[in-house]
Symmetry: C2
């Protein structure tokens, strides 16, 4: 009885076959199988879930290697917001400023407003250059004695753009301010691209990185990730845990599923570096195919896509989004410049793009 | 290949058949089935997951009714810590004090220290009475013009004790301070007990309640819950969400699984009020059975159990815990008074208690 009811709710959801707006995707079959195997697990209690905890350490090591730092320390969390909270929180606790502020690009995800409110940290958004990358000069000007972190984005939500993290890294070292890189999306795209764009721990100023396996890692939700340069940063987040099998806890949440760890590991290890590269390559091919098809009907991309996120200029962006939604298709929009925006996730095929462009023509 | 590896990690976890320390349990079969049905869902994007979002509204209504308030507003989150963060954050944002503080019992969960650090709120822990319930006189004394919230616990982690929420409610009204009730554990025990202990929205001063379906609701992890007296509190948590299908977001995390909503709903609706009552009754019977068996070998409970959490006085608590752990059994300890502590969750049977007591005798 209750399942018939649940199914009716579930059927009202829009299928991913019509979704071009989300940075999440259909979980990989390897991820689903691993998820079910770890359904009962709770990483909030590592003394009970000894094996799952070990698996998490293995996964963090794997991700650390991918990000050029075998000493990276961190954990798998609820998603990019928690990861960014913890990155900024560690920086704030390290610097202990009177009236803490952080300097972030205008293009940073809206969740940084949440983080500002939550952590009682002033958010200083600075402008972008012509290519929608943070203006490094403005970052430098915005920093003062109360700045506890600089944020760079590797894969902006709106355009998939990557800030000049190498230059931000130099400033971070010079000014002795932690540099947090939000690579929630790009962290599992950039390492697999032909074109090499530095964004990770190989840049010495980078102190923490957000990287979400439940986005391009095709893991099951929730599987966000926060990695720090070394273990010392975890100490800045620790509280004592009197009732548990361990003495301290550095995570934001207490009870914490092991499913995201298992599903991330299954995909990354199961597919391997080459397998991930193939998937990212396919996404880029499809992104270019979308640009081509959209070009045929007169749409121009805001920037040449760097990863599988692309926006097309149009004054009618909001109207188009609404019309498409009525017809069962989901895209999103950006405000500056006015544009419609799509994310070409692994569930997006050439056939889906064809159908989408046909629908768009009718509007 | 990767699954053999994953299985090896999973097999290192301790089975719930030997766990008496956790407030989590084996998810109910109804929960598992519902979880799998909603595996792909993401409540971070309600315009895509329209049906799952509706289901969540239904679940919140159901929980609201259970807590004597059909107008309750809230959402299903990662767990008790996030729920408590959001309860305190809303209160802090409502009161806007210069140097905010909150007044909480000594018995409050350790995660409140995390919350203090996170939200930059001073934590004032006040003493308990002889029954380990918060001393109401001390609460009153600790409140000043910077107090943004009072916290009461309905089901303390250590003893399952319930603070005099009715008295706290009176103080909250008198002093015009929000009262947050942490019923992460007790919220799905107290409504099903024979003995009626007031703790919820029927007490007028209560503004928010934490209640975790992944504890006594036997839902899959993650399924915490935060409920506010009415929708106005959600406004205090909102940020704008430019790229999503909705305009505002009041949740702490962005991407958010629908699995916890589905699994909570499946259990609560599937079993119904009477079914939940039967399960709670069984847990209480087993708790009393444990007290009886422990009594036979000379252990005395710290307080008569109110719910299915019980602690037994012993100076050797730490030693006993360690010895049992070596033998594959997990219990926990409390510090004041020194005691060993068990939670008699639905996975705990009389047979398991017999085996446990036999093992304990050997030490």
């Amino acid at each position: 009885m209750v399942f018939k009811e649940l199914l009716n709710f579930r059927l009202k959801d829009i299928s991913y076959k019509r979704v071009l707006s989300s940075m999440c995707t259909v979980p990989h079959p390897l991820a689903v199988k691993a998820h079910i195997m770890f359904l009962e697990t709770n990483l909030g209690d590592p003394g009970i879930f000894v094996g799952t905890w070990e698996l998490e350490r293995e996964l963090i090591k794997m991700l650390g290697k991918l990000l050029h730092n075998e000493k990276a320390a961190g954990y798998i969390c609820s998603g990019g917001t928690e990861a960014n909270i913890q990155g900024i929180r560690a920086a704030r606790n390290l610097k202990r400023a009177k009236k803490p502020n952080i300097v972030i690009p205008k293009s940073a995800h809206f969740s940084f407003e949440k983080i500002g409110d939550l952590l009682a940290v002033e958010i200083r958004r600075v402008g972008l250059d012509e290519e929608y990358r943070v203006d490094v000069g403005e970052v430098e000007k915005a920093i003062d004695e109360n700045t506890v972190a600089i944020v760079g984005i590797a894969g902006t939500t709106e355009l998939g753009q990557v800030d000049p993290i190498d230059e931000l890294s130099k400033i971070a070292i010079e000014k002795d301010v932690p540099l947090h890189v939000d690579a929630a999306f790009g962290g599992l795209v950039l390492p697999f691209l032909e074109r090499k764009i530095p964004f990770d721990f190989e840049l010495e100023g980078v102190t923490s990185i957000t990287l979400d396996p439940h986005k391009m890692g095709m893991a099951t939700i929730p599987a966000g990730g926060i990695l720090f340069r070394d273990e010392s940063f975890l100490k800045l987040l620790e509280v004592e845990t009197p009732y548990l099998t361990t003495k301290y806890q550095f995570t934001l949440t207490g009870t914490r599923p092991g499913t995201g760890v298992a599903s991330s590991y299954a995909v990354l290890k199961g597919l391997g570096f080459e397998g991930m590269k193939r998937i990212v390559k396919k996404c880029m091919e499809n992104t270019n195919y979308l640009v081509e098809k959209m070009g045929e009907i007169g749409y121009e991309p805001v920037i040449e896509p760097i990863m599988n996120v692309v926006a097309f200029k149009t004054e009618r962006a909001e109207k188009i989004k609404e019309e498409l939604y009525k017809r069962g298709w989901v895209i999103s929009t950006i405000r500056e410049p006015k544009a419609i925006r799509m994310v070409v996730m692994p569930h997006v095929t050439k056939e889906m793009i064809d159908e989408f462009v046909e629908e768009l023509k009718k509007i």
